[in-house]
Structures are given as structure tokens and as C-alpha cells.
Amino acid sequence: MTTNQGWKSVGNPEQRIDAVEKAAGTVKYIGDFAMPGLLHAKLVTSTHAHAKILSIHTEEAWKVPGVRAIVTGEMFPFHIGPILADRPPLAWEKVRYYGEPVAIVVADHEYQAKQAVQKVQVEYQPLPVVNSVQQAFETGAPLVHENSSQYMKIISNVYPVPGTNIGSHIKIRKGDFQTAWLSCEEIFEATYSFNLTDHVAMETRSTRVEITPSGKVVVHSCTQSPFTIKKVFNQFFNIAVGNIVVHAPLVGGAFGGKGTVQLEPLAYLASKAVGGKLVKLENSREEDMITSPCHIGLKATISLGATKEGKLVAGKYTFLVDSGAYTDQAAGITRAAALDCTGPYNIPNVWCDSYCMYTNHPFATSFRGYGHPELTFAVERTMDQLARKLNLDPIRFRLLNTIKPGDTSPTQTLLDANNIGDAAKCIERAKELIQWDQGQRRETGERKVRSKGISLFWKTSTTATNAQAGTVLTFEADGSVNLNCAAIEVGQGAKTVLAQILAEKLKMDLKDIHVTMELNSQYDPHQWRTVASSTTFLAGRAVLAAAEDAIRQLKKTAGIAMQCSPEDLDVGGGRVYLKANPEYGVQIKDIALGYKYPNGHTVEGQIIGSGKYVQRHLTPMDENTGFGKPGPWWSVGAQAVEVEWDPKDYTYKILKAITVLDGGTIINPMMATQQMRGGMSLGLSFASSEGFIFDQQGIVRNPQLRTYKIMRFGEQPEEYLVDFIETPNIDGPYGARGIGEYGVIGAAAALGNSLSTAAGVELNHLPLIPELIWQAKQGKEEEL
């Protein structure tokens, strides 16, 4: 007979539940939708990085057959934004970046809209361009925003400095930095930088909006933040929240780029201009790269001070985040980078100034890791250089300073065995996997150099303090379960993990769990957003709560059927059975819709399990010191990269990339491993190849994949190695921590460290193309 013994799902390498449809190519993405009567919108975008809009002439565009509406900025002259409302959806009065939407053309067919876009004539008066964070920071720099003090703050932790290009200034003041700095026996300072890059998700952003005659606004979008769309529409278009319905299907890759709300308001304005008709707005690849938000650039200066023995005493961090023309999520990234500025090291005295800088570059939003791949590149390069100065092995130096329970974070959160993973174990395991003891640098027979680099990293996720998720479970007449939850499947495997958590709790076969892939905001319970590696944690806990609710109901109904107390029952294997005698029980299918007595009378009715989870005890940060508890836990990990570098022409090959993550309990080891590989691939691509190139006028010279190169299949490392340390997080479902973003975080740093060791020069800028190494080697040829 069936007992609960055979049912185990957490920890199993289950196949993803979306694998078959994706492999068969039958998944319908947002852009795949077509129907008669659907109107198409296309954007007129700015040809200048910074200019006054003198006039917009639409007469010629109107002559294109099929054109139904042309929307320009003065039709909605208000600012929107997730943190600081500083961005007009359509540029109004002036443009602040090359590629910024200036007008929308709506037409019967896409080609007509595209033709008409060519015929909209915009007259500009060029303004001085702010082309770097350094320039933006200088006194007297041209202003990207003249009136930033008047912008509405949507969340509290954003501090624009009026009369400057500072969109937000976040401070961390821990200990007594000034005094401690003077006491340091060894100090090291260096500056790091890279330009803005793009997410390059395979699916370009796409949305469609209609306004029904009764006033409902129906949005379909590939988004990570369906409920934020509702919030934005409510805040800025004054539509009742309940009248906004958001649908989101499977998303074809997001990497943070679909966390913000940009196209949906434009499609709404377009629909409004044509009487509420359904309007589709889909990015071309080029628009997706520069018109829609990209990934921050950064200039970081780090000073570390230590004792002779290598114990870190004080750290000073200055981050100039290139947020482009608008703050969007870059304001939050500026904050996130500050609160984890030290990396996973115990540094008693910390001074950090993190600035979100306006420039005339395309604007940036969240990118997988939310500030952490970026700060980790700077921190871990500094750690390696200081280790060299101290004449310490880089791993030993890190181990001397690794943060532990009992230490405090830069925002002075006390760490305990539960809220921080085991960084030391991670680096020890990575050291084994990369075979560190066989030497960090050696020359091969073919006159090449093989070298290894390591990085240690951490991240906490700065969710809203009331971030939450909810789950509803309904039961089918065959005893199988529908799992409804607003977590978005962006390819990360969220839906599979949630199904596994439910299967484990209900001790049920995974195939009897049906997860709704699409989201409908009208019947899925509220979930904050699918970002910040928070889904397994938030939605996982909500699933557990819903399962408990369903189990309670199942036991109650079964207790009636079996004429016993619900306390004597257990659920498992598709049955509710007597704990004392598991052979005696009732099938869930026989009670899923209520228990029917032989005479037809039915009691209890269907089982509907509901559950929720909300973040506990999170606080905003203090404006002057950063003091606060911004996130629920830190996941920590170590990464290592081995390269083969050619000293003759400075080209290199990545041989191995390794991730060891303390992810708490790993729900699905196969998916988790794959997620780390994907993260490394994203990070190594960013580090080795990517970056927008600007001309003197701030024009992006490589806004297409012809010239903006990402790592291609076949260029990945010969070997990806992944391992997990599983220090359970008591709050997480089955002890799980968030892992989604982590594979990317230390990749750039490990590559930078390994190439710097190989080439014998400090490589502190990205992307790490051979020309960069050549530049760094200039004048040092004789060393070879």
C-alpha cells in the first residue's frame, strides 16, 4: 500500500516543467500574438544625446496610408519612474539620450507605422552632452535635469542633489574610518570602470494594451513586474488599480531588463489615442538595446587599509554609477552597491559614497545581480592587488578577512549563522576545483600562459520592506492540484521549483501538480515582483502556507469520511490516511470536491488552499549612515576562472569557470547547476566582450548585434564546474536561499584576476578585450 515514504521532490534533479513546450517551439511569447484589427505602434526616437526639441512636424507622416494616430510628448507632459519620477514616457521639451522615444505612430500595419516613423520630422537644438560619469560629477557640468529637486520620490531612499547631475547619493558610515585609516600599515587604492552594457535577452520587449469601453485597461506584457505596471498606471494615469488587468505569459529571458515599466505606458498612450483599440508595441533588437533601459556603467574607486599581517581595518568606496538619462532602477542599484560595498569581508570601518549619476547615455535599469557583479569586480580586483602588495596568497588573504556570524554588514546588520552562508567553505571548495595548489600561473609548452583567478562574493536582496507573494491551490476531480502564483517564469525555473516545493509538502507526484504558466493579475494573488533572487524564498514560503491550508482542509474532509479526528491523519501519495495505520485512508480524488456520502449528501465541498508570505523586519536605510536592515539574508559564493593567454598577441581562451555557492538547501540541483552556468556565461560575456561605445556626441556607435558582441555558443569555457554548499536558511522553504542572480556576480572579477596574473599587468577596466591588455602592456614590453 502507498505510504508517504516514496514521495520526495526537494533535492531531486527534476525536469523543468516548461521544457517540452519550449523544445517543441510551441510556447507563445507576447510578440507572437496577431489578430485582425490589432494596431501597431512604432517609436520615433531621438537622433541626439542631448538637445532641445524645437518642433515636431507630423504632416508627411500622416500621409502614409493606415496611420491612425501620432502621439508626442506634450500629450503626457509628466514624469514617471520606479524610485524617482524623473522620466517623461515620451521626451518632452528636450531629449536626454540617443534613442529616446520622441513620438509614437500608430497604424493598421507594422510596415506603415515604420514608414511613417521615417517621415516624422523633429527639429533639434543640440545641447552640451554629458558623456561620462566623471564629466557629470565635475562642478559646472551641463545639467541633464535642471529641476531634479521637484521630482516625486516614489520610495524613500533616494536623494537627488539639486543643481548637480547626482540623481541620488547614498552614504555608508560605519565605525570611525578617518582614525582607522591612519592606523593602517598597508594601504592600496585603485579605480575601475566600464561602460553601460545591455541584457540582450533573446526575446525583445513587447507589449499590447487596450482600453475597454467600460474603462478596463488590459495590458499584455513580457514583464517581471506585473503588479508594478498596475501601480504605475494607477499613480501616473490615475486609473483605479482594480480596473487594470495585467497578463504575462512565459518570458523569453529578462536578466533584470524586464523588471522596469517602459513600453507599457507608451502602448497605453498609443491605445488612448486610437479610442482604446488594441495596440501592439514591439521593440526591434536595436530599440531593445538603447531605447529601452540597459545595464549601468560604473566608475569605482576603492581604498583598502590593512595590518601588516593582512587583517582589513578600513575601506573607502566611491561609486559613480552611470545611470544614463534617468535614474530608474539605477537609483536602487546605487543603494544596493553601497550596502554591500565591502564584499563578504569583515571591515570594521567603512566609508562609502555611492552616487547615481545622470549622463546623456541610454538609461539603465536592473541587471542580474543588481549592483553586485559591478561592485564585486572592483572589490575583488582590489583584494588581489592588495594581496600582492602584502605578499599574501590571494585565497589566504581572503580567508583572513571573510565575514562570519557575529560580524556586522556595512549597514550594521548583525550576521548570524542563519542569515549568512559560509563564505570560507565556498572559497575552500573553489580552491580545490580550480586546483589552486598546482600553481596560479604557469607557462605551457606552446609558449602560452595558463593562469587562475578567484573571486568571493555576496549579495542580499533589497526588496521592498513589504515584499510578498501569495498562492492559491485548487484541486481537480482526479486529485491533482493547480498551483496559481504570480511568480513569472523568465527561464529561471521558478515554476518548476514551486511545483517541487508543493510536491514535497503534499508528498505528491510532481506530475499531479499543474502550475499556471501565465499570470493574470485579476485572479493570481499579489506578488511583489519576480526579481532579486526572491521567488524561491517569497513564493516558496507562500506555496508552503497554501499547502498547509489545503492539508488542513483535506484532513478535515477525510476525518468526516473516515469518522476520525483530523489530527490522526496524514497526507501523502495522493491519499489522506491514518497515521497509525497508513493502509487505512481515502484517495484525495474522492474528497477533492467534497465528500459524498453513499446517499448523495455532500459535505465540505472543494479544497482551496491559500497561503502568503511577507518579508519580516526589513527597514529602509538611514540617510546619513546607511544604518538599517535592507534584506533578509545574504547568499555567499566563490568563483574561479582559468585562462590560457597568448603573450604574443594578448588573445586568450577561457578554459574553466567555477562557481561554488552557498545556496542553502538546493531544491533542484540540475536546474541550480544550469542556472550557475548561465550566470557565469552572462558575466563572462559582459566582462570579456560587451559595452556600448559612445562617440563625442554621446551617440551609441554599436547599437546592434553586428557590432555589439556577446559571447557566442562555442566561445564558452571548455568546462563549467558548479558545486553547492548547503548551509540551511531557517526562514527559507526547506532551508533554501535565493540563488537566481548569483552565478553572474563574481565572474568578471575572477576573469579580471586571472588575466591580470597572466599578463602581469593590472587590468581594471572592462571589457577585457585583447586590445585592453595591449594598452596596459604599452611600455612594459621588455618585461616579457
Binding site: K114, Q118, S689, K709
Partner: protein, 282 residues
Amino acid sequence: MIPFDFEYYKPATVAEACETYRTLQEQKKSVVYYSGGTEFITLARVNQISADAVIDLKGIPEVQVLEMQGDQFIVGSAVTLNQIAESRLFPLLAQTVRGVADHNSRNKITIGGNLGSRLSYREGVLPLLLADCKVRVAGGMKGEGERVVSLSDVFDKQLNLEQGEFLLQILVDKEYLDLPYVHLKKTKQSKVDYPLVSVAALVKDKEIRMAFSGICEYPFRLGEIEEVVNNTTFARKEQLKQVVGKLPAAILDDLHGSAGYREFVFRNVVQETIDALEWAQK
């Protein structure tokens, strides 16, 4: 999406192609010959090319030829780069075109399209310049039919055909096919990218021949450079300096690489090429 309407013609013979072109010209239409279509599609969707009509040459039997005919290797202009790469009848050409774009694109890109590309690289021409090949050209406004000329007569920096002409075939003498050769291509980072420097080289009568793309704004083969390369009295360092000095135009300085770095790569590549072919000079 290509936002403009255009007429599409697919002639089955050379005569029909010529006639179609002339008719469209008389109607004052702008006309583009094409075969693979990769360049037309990618440039048209971003409004960098437009045409009232396109003439698809793929239906003409002569442009699909890829075979030895007597002592000549014949390549039709609509033969795809992958077909050339896989045929291996001319190994240097095979290896050179295998470096262009990615595999999917090479299934479409044709040798004629590569030679006539608007992009400056046109790497497919490098081995052909070395092999003193001839080309068969058809069309033109006067209607006299076909002509066979030296490649060097119609290719200087780019393919310079008369209005209405199109490339029909490339003819390579057999004696060039199996000579010792080297092809090297260096890029900014990814192998699938435009060249910083691309070089094709072969040794004929103990003399190294070299043609380059990527280093300057057009592909070229230059006798003066080959003289230096084959002058064994030079010390290597001096030889490389001389080669750089003989470049026919300024070294490119663009988003793929600075002029300084390109020169560094160029020196490496020339040296590597000479090292690899030295044995054949003796």
C-alpha cells in the same frame, strides 16, 4: 521588417536578367541585383538601403556552378560561402570564406555578394587576388552580353562593374589551387566578427603573395609589400617596419580597434604568415 514595397524578379537566364534590368531602368526604377539577400535584408530593415526592384540571380544556372572545368576551377557568383568551404576544391578560398560571418549566415551569403558587399572587408576576394583569376561578367546597358576579364581589371578596393552588369563566374587556373597557403584572421574578441586584420597568402614560384583586409579601409594586394616580404636580406624587425610603411592607406581606427593596436596585430600576422610559409620559399 522591411518597411518599403519593392518588386521581385527571378530570371532563369542571363539574357532575361539583362532584359529585366534594362526594362526597370527605362521605368526609372532603382534596381539591385542580389543572390543570398543577407545584406539587402539587414540593411533594408534599418533603412540603410532601398530599392524599387530586386533581381534575384539564383535562378540562373551559370551562377550556381562549382566545379573543375578542364584546367579551371569555376565558381558561380551565387555559390554560398558554405558550399565553397565544404567543396575544398580551392583550400585557401575555402578557409578564408569560412571565417566570414557565422555558419547560418554563410548558408546564405554568396561569393558574389561578398565581393560586392557594401561592407569594406570583402575577404572572399583575397585568395582570388592572389590567384590572378579571371571573372565572367554579364549584363550592362549596351546589351553586348558577357565578357571575361582579369579580376584586377574590375576589382580595385571594390567590385567596379559597369551599370547593369553583374558577376557571373570566377575562373581560377588549376595551378593555383594546391599551392602552399596560409589564412589568418584576427578580431577584436569573438571569432565571429569583422577582421582587425585578415590575410591570405600563398607561395608561387618560391615567392610569397599576400592580400589583406581589415587593416585599411579596403582589401588589397600590393606588389611593393610582396617585394619586401620576399626580400630575405632584411632582418625581420626591419622587414615588418618596411611592410607597415608600404601600406596603401591609413590604418583603420574604429570601434573594432585603434590604429595603434591594429598595427600591432598586423605586424604579428605578417610575421606569423612569413614564418608559416618560409619553408616553401626554399
